[in-house]
């Protein structure tokens, strides 16, 4: 067999494997009963979608909650990550390795390791069962990604451009707006995409800090899955992955060129 045919076959297998788990979700969302051993449902219906999109299911309000929390987390992470990324990308200072380790730890240590302690801390702060609390908790795994991606961007950025702009009459905020921001813009976009997705996918931290009061989409999805409502679960799952797909298509157009855009955020 030629190399080209091997590549093609591997590609087909890979594509099929990547799509496979999404297929039953999609079918279930349109199924009207789908019993073993039927390969496909005997009857189709829009009931699951109608229910999922109705006010009574709570899916749309969960969607909004998840969106707002992920959006707020991303904005706060950018505001905190920009100066931190600048410090790590542009300066060398004693203890830099330690700072890097401290920054990476929250992304690598699983939420369960800190969840019990965090629960107690947030109770003390009076932040549990609140949106603010959930956003703060989501920042823990998000800030490391944002900061490290921006640090890589600042390491490629020559700050003398800022001095040049200053000398040409730009005030400090104009320098940021017209020089710094556009020059690190692609990385900020990728960092924000990561931040959004990490918050968007968060389950345990929302459960721990939200205390059932902050109902995001993964929590809603889990409760329907645990209740065995496969059709509604399928519909919610598709609603849940839609924003990620839209954002990916949008950013892929803007930043990738040849390379997968997310790979740039993952580059060491």
């Amino acid at each position: 067999m030629t190399v080209a045919r091997l590549q093609l076959m591997a590609g087909v297998v890979l594509a099929a494997a990547l799509i496979a788990p999404l297929v039953p979700l999609a079918i279930w969302s349109f199924a009207h009963g789908w019993r073993f051993p039927d390969l496909m449902p005997r009857q189709y219906s829009l009931a699951a979608w109608t229910f999922a999109l109705s006010a009574q299911s709570g899916v749309l309000s969960s969607l909004w909650t998840t969106f707002a929390i992920a959006g707020a987390t991303t904005v706060v992470a950018a505001v905190i990550g920009l100066p931190a990324g600048r410090a790590l990308g542009l300066y060398d200072f004693p203890g830099k390795r330690i700072v890097l380790l401290l920054l990476i730890a929250p992304a690598l240590v699983p939420a369960i390791a800190i969840a019990p302690g965090l629960h107690a801390v947030f109770l003390h702060l009076g932040l549990s069962a609140s949106w603010t609390g959930v956003v703060l908790a989501h920042l823990i795994p998000v800030i490391p990604y944002m900061t490290l991606i921006l640090a890589a961007a600042f390491a490629r950025f020559d700050p003398v451009h800022e001095d040049q702009a200053r000398s040409l009459g730009a005030r400090p905020w104009q320098v940021f707006r017209h020089i710094t921001l556009p020059m690190i813009g692609p990385s900020l976009l990728i960092g924000s995409l990561f931040a959004f997705l990490v918050s968007w996918s968060q389950y345990l931290l929302t459960l721990v800090i939200g205390g059932g009061k902050v109902q995001t989409l993964p929590l809603t999805l889990y409760s329907f899955a645990a209740a065995g409502r496969n059709d509604i679960t399928g519909a919610i799952a598709l609603i849940y992955i839609l924003p990620g797909v839209v954002v990916l298509i949008f950013t892929a157009r803007r930043i990738t060129g040849r390379h997968p855009s997310l790979a740039r955020g993952l580059a060491p």
Partner: protein
């Protein structure tokens, strides 16, 4: 503002926030794992919680299961990701589509992947139905249990499905950073395709692969919602056991949950050290 204090000032918001939340949560968990909870009348720290869980067969089984899940997922995902990255570097029809699917997968939340795998491989799932159509099984219970099973196959499949693209994209970024001359030079020195892969490409990819693998191991070891959906009741994966212990009605069991959380943190610390030794340069930029 001197050149020394400026970076620290810029880092302050991030460090204060992470310190106030992450390290406070970790620290409080550590204190309580020593059974120091004055509010409950426990005011002498001791190691009783650790002694209790280390002597409990249930805990050791949970720990063993989570280590197995993490190890199996990491090894499988790494090998397949390496192949995927090498494939994505080539030009072939459909490459753009696969590149898109790999990235798409990265945006899909784990819990969606877990449910998808559940509907695919459970005893009444799509694969079982295909097996029925092929005449291999008659009833769902004939199909081998791949979810809620002792070997945690469904959980491992979910992690492999989710983390393969993650590792592949890191490796692809590393591959694209390899100067093009290296591999060509090795070929011109008489190395075959496999020898180039074995002696040139793989060693250059190693740091990225180890760094990505330690991230994946830590995640597969500590994630909660996937074993919650796909795992068996006994033994439970460690994260599930930890959170159940914490939310148990009897508050006197909480120190044991804290101790389990600290064990997870300890395993993560080892992985963090591994990650740092491969992914963080000794000397930062001059």
């Amino acid at each position: 503002m001197s050149r020394r204090t400026r970076p620290l000032l810029l880092l302050a918001p991030a460090l204060v926030l992470l310190g106030g939340l992450f390290f406070a949560g970790l620290g409080l968990g550590l204190v309580r794992s020593f059974r120091y909870m004055p509010a409950l009348g426990l005011d002498t720290p001791d190691l009783a919680a650790y002694a209790a869980i280390l002597q409990s067969g249930t805990f050791l089984a949970s720990l063993g299961l989570s280590l197995w899940i993490a190890a199996a997922s990491t090894v499988l995902a790494s090998i397949l990701a390496l192949g995927t990255a090498l494939l994505l570097r080539e030009t072939f029809p459909g490459r753009a589509l696969i590149g898109f699917l790999v990235q798409l997968n990265l945006t899909i939340p784990h819990v969606v992947g877990a449910i998808g795998i559940l509907y695919l491989v459970s005893q009444s799932g799509s694969f079982a139905r295909l097996a029925f159509a092929a005449g291999l099984v008659a009833v769902p219970s004939d199909f081998p249990p791949l979810t809620h099973d002792p070997l945690a196959i469904g959980i491992i499949l979910t992690y492999v499905w989710k983390e393969l693209p993650f590792i592949a994209l890191i490796l692809l970024a590393n591959l694209q950073a390899i100067p093009p001359g290296h591999e060509a030079a090795a070929r011109s020195l008489g190395a075959g395709r496999w020898q180039v892969l074995r002696h040139v490409t793989l060693p250059l990819l190693m740091p990225g692969l180890v760094a990505a693998s330690s991230l994946v191991f830590a995640f597969a070891f500590g994630a909660y919602e996937i074993p919650l959906l796909l795992g068996a009741h006994a033994p439970e994966a460690l994260p599930v056991a930890t959170w159940r212990g914490f939310t148990a009605v009897d508050l006197m069991h909480r120190p044991e949950a804290y101790a389990m959380a600290m064990i997870v943190a300890l395993v993560s610390a080892v992985l963090l050290a591994l990650y740092a030794s491969f992914a963080l340069p000794r000397r930062a930029r001059p």
